[in-house]
């Protein structure tokens, strides 16, 4: 039992044997015997350990750690010995106690004996053994307790107080005593043994070295394959101890040397510096260092260095531990890289998603915008055209004023929607460019005239086309005009005084500064067109004058318009014979720059970058002040870029801006003017006028001076206005004051072979200005009845000559002649000059006015001309009534023959054709009309028995009327909307069909699709 205790004690002390400062690295070792077997199996290579023993001794002697370790070991041993001594003492104490007890017992026993002897004599009372046993026992408990050896086993069979009893008792006691003595002997032996043990254990060094060896084994066992190097270096960083499981160097190559002496390469210096740092700071530190040495290649070590202090507290070296973590680092780096890549990927993905989302949104928004715009445009144009019609009816001044506001507002919205549609068209690439021949000078003039027509402030509009710009070039005139119009209206919008102008010049590598020079080009030797924009009528009047605006008298001028179209051809030829046309023998590309400049408010520099962006205006203030959508410039830029050019801007705040666009144009060598009679005639008119004053016909400088309200009465001019369209709608207004001889003035022919809706609309907008100023003009004018209406029919020709002496204006219209025509679609042919002259005279009488007359142009041609072919009276009445409700007037014929005749004599924008009709049914009539459209003759109709009747009012030889017909949309009207009848309709050349009975809905849809 005691032996066991000793052993347990041993173990306990062992665990605390290792110094506390080896933090957490205590060797928790099992019983010495238990692990021996295990350790025996392990072959421990002791080689990697390279020790400078001398140094170790030194360290143990001098270094604080070493001495404290030793001290601790000694202390521990002492403690153990003391503990053993204490235990032995306790044992001795126990023994002596037992000895005392047994002695005491002996004494008691003797006393008892005495007592018994005494009582032997006195107490004579007979007691049965059993009774006495009963009685005695309570009397002796205390005594018995004191006896170590109980006497319970004492059984005395003999009767009390008999001799036998006493003998037995004595014998028993003797035995007890013997046992006690024996025990004492054992204890003494044990004591001696313990002392012997003590003696045996008295050599601590052996024990310690054993423990140390065990720890050492464990260390080896653990470190054997660990990629760990352990070392100690002195304060010069020379190795004193090195443990390296993969040694590649011999002991002598390491001990006593520094890192730098052992190996070289990347990281060596770093590790040395690091160690030195630790040495200096006296604080342990960890660092990851990557080596790149010849010795072991590229490896990364996590290095732990701790300083070693002497007893005096000085650093005397470092302990160093390194663990190779190359793989881990690599892995870590890989992971980091992967993580980084993932992060980048994710960022990219989210970015992409965002972009996709935005793009989708944008696309959707654009689509919605386009759709919405279209949806809005249709009803809006209905509203606007209704308002226009309303304005032709008898309404009072106030109503007219309201209508004007309605119209101009409506036009604004339409413009905005058109802009949006245009933009989406350009952006989506739907817009196709067309190459057409056009004359830059005409375009510039036209644009300026248009601008002048709606000018509402005092501005000079000027245009200059450099000499080297060809007379005729090829490009998409519609788009170019749109750009010019846009830029000019923009310029006018932001210019309050001064001038706005267009300059056209050829771009050569060296002549980029041409436009600079052209500023001073408005000189006397050039032909100058002055347009006096008069306040009252704002008509598109262009004074034709060799002098400036103040010129009063003009000699009688010859005007070649009289004999249009023959004369213009001649004039055109003469013009084309000019130098320009012979300069370019073959078609070449020429870059022509165009400046649109103004003296307006300019653009602040910070607004320039966003200027061409959609919905961008210089500032919110600007938007409020000037209105607009901010789409104009964006469209311009897109259009210019679409045409392969570029649009730039330069601007100075408060000084003005200059927008420049440079576009490539094709220049054709031969200007075949005969194929372009319209433009030609116009050009000729212009040229003819020029001819009478100036010889310079190839260069154009145009000035549209500011309107002069006060000087109207004193200005003498012949006004001439024309819009800028190829389908020219022009009218002249020449008025003469002072009763001077008048110029013969003519209207340039207006022949409109094409019914292109766009151009028609343009025409409308071109004449819009004058129309809106009606009110003002009448109030200013002395002649109240001088509202003239010029109804412009698309295919109508006006050939009008006027020789009136006091000619204010003219009018060409069924309305103006006092005949309020119920059907605007009726042919309007004013070949009868007589009528016009009559009208003229009438107006002369009524208005010997000194001011110009208002001219109101109603573009009734906007209204589609519709023919209804239907034999059913009820249907006719219903359809007519519905059409009237929708603001349309229709011609009605009752069968196919009449339909063909109607088409022969007039032109329609839409035919509603009943399929089942007597005489010639709708299908046949459609076939005949289609045949005419394709062949250009009515042979098929003649064959079918429909005689071709030359319409009375049409010049039979006019080739345009017959040749340039477009395909008229023909809508069939069928009773049963079965698919077979639909097929029939399409097979016979109909474009669509509606099922009868006609309803508002299907009529409206049909009209929207085909004529709006």
């Amino acid at each position: 039992m005691e032996n066991n205790n000793v052993e347990e004690m041993d173990i306990e002390s062992l665990s605390s044997m290792w110094p506390e400062d080896i933090n957490g690295k205590q060797f928790n070792i099992e019983k010495p015997g238990a692990d021996q077997a295990m350790l025996e199996d392990i072959f421990i290579i002791e080689e990697p350990k390279i020790v400078d023993f001398k140094r170790l001794v030194e360290l143990t002697n001098y270094s604080e750690k070493g001495s404290s370790q030793l001290a601790y070991l000694v202390k521990n041993w002492e403690y153990r010995q003391a503990y053993a001594v204490r235990l032995l003492r306790e044992e001795l104490d126990t023994l002596s106690k037992q000895k005392q007890e047994s002695e005491l017992k002996e004494l008691e026993i003797t006393e008892e004996h005495r007592f018994e002897q005494e009582s032997y004599g006195g107490d004579k009372r007979p007691i049965s053994v059993l009774d006495e046993e009963y009685d005695i026992l309570p009397d002796f408990p205390r005594k018995i307790k004191h006896v170590v050896v109980e006497n319970k086993g004492l059984e005395i069979e003999a009767d009390y107080d008999t001799v036998i009893y006493w003998k037995q008792r004595a014998r028993h006691l003797e035995e007890l005593l013997e046992a006690s003595i024996q025990r004492e002997q054992i204890l003494v032996e044990k004591l001696q043994e313990s002392i012997k043990n003590l003696e045996r254990q008295s050599s601590p060094v052996e024990e310690l070295s054993q423990i140390l060896k065990r720890a050492d084994h464990y260390l080896h066992f653990i470190l054997e394959t660990a990629p760990v190097t352990i070392g100690h270096q002195d304060k010069d960083l020379r190795y004193r101890f090195m443990y390296n499981p993969y040694p590649s160097l011999q002991e002598e190559e390491i001990i006593g040397k520094t890192d730098a002496e052992i190996f070289t390469g990347g990281g060596v210096k770093e590790v040395q510096d690091f160690k030195r740092e630790v040495l200096e700071k006296g604080l342990p530190a960890k660092r990851e260092i990557t080596f790149e040495t010849q010795l072991f290649g590229a490896k990364t070590f996590l290095i732990y260095v701790e300083p070693v202090f002497s007893k005096a507290g000085e650093t005397i070296g470092v302990n160093y531990m390194g663990m190779e973590i190359t793989d881990q680092v690599r892995k870590r780096e890989k992971m980091a890289k992967v993580r980084e890549e993932i992060a980048v990927q994710k960022a990219k993905e989210s970015e992409l998603n965002k972009t996709i989302h935005i793009t989708e949104e944008t696309m959707r928004a654009k689509e919605v915008l386009a759709t919405m715009s279209h949806e809005i445009r249709s009803p809006l144009s209905g509203v606007v055209s209704m308002a226009e019609i309303l304005s032709t009816t008898n309404i009072d001044k106030e109503q007219r004023q309201i209508l004007k506001v309605m119209l101009s507002t409506g036009d604004l919205i339409l413009q905005l929607i058109n802009d949006i549609l245009d933009l989406s068209k350009v952006e989506s690439g739907v817009l196709k460019l067309e190459a057409t021949k056009f004359r830059p000078r005409e375009v510039v003039k036209g644009v300026l005239q248009t601008a002048a027509g709606s000018l509402q402030k005092v501005l000079t509009l000027e245009g200059h086309v450099a000499d080297d710009v060809p007379v005729q070039v090829i490009g998409d005139i519609l788009q170019i005009r749109r750009i010019l119009n846009n830029l000019i209206s923009n310029a006018i919008k932001y210019t309050h005084k001064g001038k706005v102008g267009i300059k056209l010049y050829k771009i050569t590598a060296l002549s980029c500064d041409l436009r600079e020079g052209s500023k001073g080009n408005i000189t006397a030797d050039r032909s100058v067109f002055s347009a006096i924009i008069r306040e009252p009528d704002k008509c598109l009047s262009l004074s034709q004058s060799g002098s400036d605006l103040n010129g009063f008298l003009e000699g009688p001028r010859k005007n070649s318009h009289d004999d249009e179209p023959e004369t213009p051809v001649i004039n055109g030829a003469s013009m084309d014979g000019g130098e320009e046309n012979h300069r370019h023998p073959s078609e070449t590309t020429m870059w022509i720059g165009c400046d649109v400049y103004d003296t307006g408010i300019g653009i602040p520099e910070n607004a320039l970058p966003t200027l061409f962006k959609k919905y961008m205006q210089v500032s919110a203030d600007t938007a409020r002040k000037y209105g607009g959508t901010g789409l104009g410039l964006a469209i311009c830029k897109q259009l210019v870029e679409l045409m392969g050019g570029h649009l730039t801007v330069s601007s100075q705040e408060h000084r003005g801006s200059t927008f420049t666009f440079v576009l490539p144009y094709k220049v054709s060598p031969q200007c075949d003017n005969s194929d372009d009679p319209d433009e030609l005639s116009d050009m000729n008119g212009h040229d003819a006028m020029l001819d009478s004053h100036d010889d310079d016909i190839s260069s154009g400088t145009f000035i549209f001076g500011p309107r002069m309200l006060g000087s109207l009465s004193s200005s003498s001019s012949s006004a001439r206005a024309q819009n800028q369209l190829p389908n020219r709608v022009a009218f002249n207004a020449t008025h003469k004051l002072n009763g001077l001889s008048d110029d013969p003035t003519s209207f340039p022919g207006s022949s409109m072979p094409s019914k292109e809706v766009n151009s028609l609309k343009d025409a409308c907008s071109a004449v819009d200005g004058p129309a809106t100023s009606c009110q003002q003009e009448t109030s200013m004018m002395q002649s109240p009845d001088s509202n003239y209406k010029v109804t412009v029919g698309s295919e109508r020709e006006y050939q009008h000559k006027e020789y009136g002496q006091f000619q204010d204006t003219f009018k060409v219209s069924t309305c103006s002649s006092g005949v309020e025509s119920k059907e605007v679609s009726e042919k309007v042919r004013l070949t009868d000059c007589q009528e016009a002259e009559e009208i003229q005279e009438r107006f002369e009488r009524s208005s010997q006015c000194s001011s110009s007359k208002g001219q109101e142009i109603i573009e009734s041609k906007l209204k589609p001309r519709i023919l209804l072919v239907e034999d059913n009276k009820i249907n006719v009445v219903v359809a007519q009534s519905m059409m009237t409700r929708m603001g349309h007037k229709i011609d009605v014929v009752n069968n196919g023959v009449e339909a063909v005749r109607a088409v022969q004599s007039s032109s329609y924008d839409l035919i509603l054709m009943d399929v089942c009709m007597p005489v010639v049914d709708g299908l046949q009539a459609t076939r005949l009309i289609r045949s005419f459209e394709e062949m250009g003759n009515w042979d098929a109709a003649v064959k079918a028995g429909i005689e071709y009747q030359v319409p009375q009012n049409t010049a039979p030889n006019d080739p345009q009327l017959n040749l340039l017909r477009n395909r008229i949309p023909i809508i069939g009207m069928t009773t049963n909307a079965l698919s077979e009848s639909a097929d029939e309709c399409f097979a016979n050349g109909m474009d669509s069909f509606i099922s009868k009975p006609v309803t508002f809905q299907n009529l409206k849809e049909c009209l929207e699709q085909y004529v709006m």
Binding site: I874, N875, V878, S881, T975, K996, P997
Partner: protein
């Protein structure tokens, strides 16, 4: 204006639609009424009856003389159907369709029978519409 009468007129109009005499085309005609043509519907209906009288006679003659000339009968009936549908005379239109079906099938007897029904419907509608228009006029005066 008599409110009661107006309500009666409205009821009558409703029943004309409910009983299938008229369809939505009639509403289209009603929509075409305006200040300039307050009696537009009546005028159209009158026009329809005067216009169809001749056509009915034509069909009658054709049925009497040439009951097997289905092509011609169909032609007439198509015209008549077109007119009926123009004023929204639904029941008449149905008879027209039936008539044309018989034409297609070459059933002369069916044609004659249907034509009788057609005339009856025509007369009924005329009576009803005349009453309706009369009442409407009274209600609005």
């Amino acid at each position: 204006m008599d409110r009661n009468l107006q309500r009666q007129v409205a009821n009558m109009r409703k029943s004309l639609f409910d009983q299938g005499y008229l369809d939505e085309q009639f509403i289209q005609l009603e929509d075409l009424r305006d200040d300039a043509n307050p009696n537009f519907v009546e005028e159209i209906v009158t026009l329809f009856y005067t216009d169809s009288a001749k056509l009915i006679r034509n069909i009658e003659n054709a049925l009497e003389n040439n009951p097997s000339d289905f092509e011609r009968l169909d032609d007439y009936m198509q015209q008549f159907k077109g007119r009926s549908s123009s004023i929204g005379a639904k029941k008449v239109k149905t008879e027209c369709s039936q008539f044309r079906e018989y034409c297609k099938a070459g059933n002369a007897e069916g044609c004659i029978r249907t034509f009788q029904q057609l005339k009856q419907e025509l007369a009924t509608l005329r009576r009803k519409l005349e009453t309706y228009f009369e009442m409407a006029r009274q209600a609005n005066t």
